[in-house]
Each structure stands twice: as C-alpha cells, then as structure tokens.
Symmetry: C2
Subunit: 118 residues, 2 copies
DNA sequence: TATGTGGATCGATGGCTGTCGATCTCGAGC
DNA sequence: GCTCGAGATCGACAGCCATCGATCCACATA
C-alpha cells in the first residue's frame, strides 16, 4: 500500500527539540515487501539455504538421493524443505523415472538480491 | 559442519542409469548457513523488511515515533519487530532523551547479500 | 503380477512467532 | 515531587513451523 504521509507524527511534544523530520516512509511497497519477505522466509532455515547453495553451485539438476544424505535430518524433512523452496518459486523439480531432480530458478532470487545489494 | 562426502549415495540401484554424480555438496558451511539464515529470518516479515527499507533509504537515524504510524499494527508490535531486527544485528538504536532512534548496520547484510548476488 | 526402491504425503508433537492489551520505565517539564 | 508521554516489556493467545515415524504412490525390474 502507499504509505499515508499524513500519519507522520504530529503529536504535541515536550517543547524540546523536534522528534525528527516527518519524511521517512518505505520506498518498497507492501506488496513488494510481501514478495521479498516470502523469499527470505524460504531461505530462513540453514538446511534450505544449504540446499539452495548446492543447487546453485552445481549449475544443473541434482538428484534428491544425493541431497538427502548431506543433512542430519530424515528424508521426509528434506522433502518438506524442498517443497517449501518450490512453493516459494526458488527451485523446481523434474522426475526422471524413479528419481527426482531439483534445480534453481535464479530469477526468483533477483528481486531480494537487488534490494539487498542496493 | 563440513559435509561428509562419504555419505554420498552408494545404495544399490535398479541397475538402470546411475542416479547422478556423487559430487554435490554445499560450499557454504553449516555455521555460515546458520548466520545467513538468521538474517533472512529477520527479514522474513513484510513489516520488518519495510522497516529496514525505511532506515536504509533514510541514511541516518530515524525516530520510533515516526516509524510506528507507518504500519497497521500497534506500537508494541513495532517495538517487537525492531527488537528482532536488533537481535539479528541488522539495526541498532540510540536513545536521545525521550525518543529512540534506530539506524541500519549495513555490514550485517553483507554476507547474505553477497551470497545471493554470486 | 509381485517385489523393491525413491520420494512424497500424512498425522502428531513440541516449539516458535506475530499480535494485542496492559503495564512498566525513565526522562522532561511544571 | 508529580505528571505526562515515548517506548520497552510482560502475559496471553492463536497460528505457524521443523521434525519425526509411518504410510502411500509411482516406477522399474524380474
């Protein structure tokens, strides 16, 4: 949403120095903030962050059977983390016969990355 | 922790094509992943992300009395979010008389920013 | 068709999180 | 010293999350 500047502080104050200029507001709108926060949330777990790291550095599709033994959690938990990442659009998967291969969708990280780097 | 490569998949498989090469492992170690995930977690809320956005764009210290009316939540909630950000090292605060001023610590975002941008 | 394997899903559980109203703290001004 | 206001803290509550064991599903081989 567009921030209502009229809500800036205008309470009477103890006559001392003024609190501050009333011109601080987010440049990032609510909807954009929600998108970036959702991506950050998906990365807010060490295992998921390492999963993304593996997939990014590998630059290709990686089999789940190779991802699972890298972490000290059970197979359902890794599967759950991969689902979270896929729901956030950060990774996608592809089945080949018996195995499932995951890969990164780099564009999903772009918005947050640019905001962080600006 | 350093990932144990010996844990790579070596189960017998249905004699078909091999699953994949056993050389996928995180380049980011557990401890680093935990640090970056903690920062991501602090940014994983739209309000906190917008708070950081305000403080970054403002390039100075901003009074809490100016931050609070920007969001549709109560004052204790804004205070809570600021505390979360401060606990993550992303912002810091400074009291001046009756008011509290917050500012960003840019170095706290560097590690995650560089990883995302690489 | 029967069997085995990779991986997703289910249900449960304990812990964490965002939000609120109420209260507390502490500095400023009278 | 008293009062007032900015902001932090507390306690409660509801919803969400990471993890697990068990199960289910799809596919491949026999």
């Amino acid at each position: 949403m567009a921030v209502d500047l009229e809500l800036a502080p205008k309470q009477k104050r103890p006559a001392g120095e003024p609190c501050c200029k009333p011109v601080a507001y987010p440049e990032v709108e609510r909807q954009v903030a929600e998108r970036m926060a959702a991506v950050a949330k998906a990365l807010a777990d060490p295992i998921r962050l390492q999963l993304v790291d593996v997939l990014r550095k590998h630059a290709g599709k990686v089999c789940v059977c190779e991802l699972t033994p890298l972490f000290d959690v059970g197979q359902p938990t890794v599967s759950h983390h991969l689902k979270v990442l896929r729901s956030a659009g950060i990774v996608d998967s592809e089945r080949q016969g018996l195995w499932a291969y995951y890969y990164v969708r780099p564009e999903a990280l772009k918005e947050l990355s640019r905001w962080l780097g600006s």
